[in-house]
């Protein structure tokens, strides 16, 4: 809640921040201007040594303007000729612009919803899932059913229920039932 008797704080460009108790008041604009005057009046001129260095730089730069990055007259002889860039990095003359460039030209980010969905490009590839499922099913059947079951399904059922056929043909049934 603001005190109506308290003056509103001012924070203009030329006013110092409001100061609390225990802090010295900030100098006003006139005092700051006097500080600027004092600092401005104490500007030392360039020394003779500095001017001599600057003129020496000017003479050197005039005589050798390309001293920074001298252009070699000939390529270095001790280095092999740089190989040509890989063909993949060299764009073909009539190559269409890349998709990212197209997207940028259309004003939409690449990878956005306007990108076409991927699809199978080869027709035979559509049969690949069906062939895979068929192969898995065949392997499952052949692995789980013995070859004998394929040739004689009834014998396979009997073996599973009653045991091996030799035991039934030659063993004495009474021996099997008693100790």
């Amino acid at each position: 809640m603001t005190d109506p008797d308290r003056p509103a704080p001012t924070d203009g460009p030329d006013r110092g921040p409001p100061h609390g108790p225990g802090h010295a008041p900030a100098p006003d604009a006139a005092a700051l201007a006097r500080a600027f005057d004092a600092l401005r009046a104490r500007t030392a001129p360039p020394s003779d040594a500095l001017m001599a260095r600057v003129m020496a730089d000017a003479a050197a730069a005039r005589l050798a303007p390309s001293v920074d990055l001298p252009a070699p007259a000939a390529p270095p002889q001790d280095r092999p000729t740089p190989a040509a860039p890989p063909a993949s990095s060299t764009p073909r003359p009539n190559a269409p612009p890349r998709r990212r460039t197209e997207d940028r030209a259309r004003g939409r980010p690449s990878g956005g919803p306007a990108r076409p969905a991927p699809r199978w490009r080869a027709g035979g590839a559509r049969l690949a899932p069906a062939g895979l499922v068929a192969a898995l099913a065949a392997g499952f059947v052949l692995g789980m059913v013995a070859p004998a079951a394929v040739l004689d399904p009834l014998a396979a059922v009997q073996t599973a229920v009653f045991g091996p056929p030799l035991l039934l043909e030659y063993a004495d049934a009474a021996d099997l039932l008693t100790d």
């Binding site: 110092g16 500095l50 001017m51 730089d57």
Partner: protein
């Protein structure tokens, strides 16, 4: 001849010769063209015109006369090197030099930051007095030293704007061209810098004799 310092080439290398607002007439452009054609006397005239400004600007931003001389020499050296590529009418030489100097000083301050902790006020090099001996100038010397120390503690952009406005006497549009920003941003930088300077000098108000100046 001392080797030119090449230690600060980061930000100032981005300054193109047409970095400031186009100006139809620049007397320095003709001198620069004459120097590029081989006239060393033109370079001397350019140095006489601009070296004091560049030196004082760098000195006020850095607070170190020796570093300021290095920066001034480097700024002029870049002017000599760019002379053959200078495009008359697209920039003022003075504006370009101020901008290169500001960038060089910014690089120097960044490098200095962290290398040494904030020095006390007594460690700041006192600005040279061209007319020593006057007893009444002791207060002025203290005020100048205090303001120099306060400028050193300002953020670099605020310090550049304040120095260019209140010590170099440039207009806000000129400062905007040098600092590559808008006039409103320059006004804001100057206002914030002045507030920070006033707050920094406030505790020393009595010692600096500001109360004695009041009528």
């Amino acid at each position: 001849m001392a080797a030119p310092p090449h230690s600060c080439r980061d930000a100032s290398d981005r300054v193109p010769p047409d970095a400031a607002a186009p100006t139809p007439q620049d007397p320095d452009a003709a001198l620069l063209a004459a120097y590029a054609a081989g006239d060393l006397q033109a370079a001397r005239m350019l140095m006489t015109r601009h070296l004091p400004r560049v030196l004082s600007f760098a000195g006020r931003l850095l607070g170190d006369p020796a570093e300021a001389e290095d920066i001034a020499q480097e700024a002029l050296l870049r002017l000599w090197r760019i002379a053959p590529d200078w495009q008359p009418g697209r920039a003022q030489v003075s504006t370009w030099l101020y901008r290169v100097t500001a960038n060089l000083c910014t690089d120097r301050l960044r490098r200095r930051q962290g290398a040494r902790a904030a020095a006390p006020l007594e460690a700041v090099a006192e600005p040279a007095d061209p007319a020593p001996g006057a007893e009444g100038r002791l207060i002025a010397a203290d005020r100048a030293a205090a303001l120099q120390a306060a400028l050193r503690d300002l953020p670099p952009r605020q310090a550049q704007a304040v120095v260019l406005r209140h010590l170099e006497g440039l207009s806000n549009p000129e400062i905007a061209g040098i600092m590559d920003t808008g006039v409103e941003a320059v006004e804001s930088l100057i206002a914030r810098g002045r507030r920070a300077l006033a707050a920094a000098l406030g505790p020393r108000r009595d010692a600096l004799g500001y109360d004695d100046d009041r009528p």
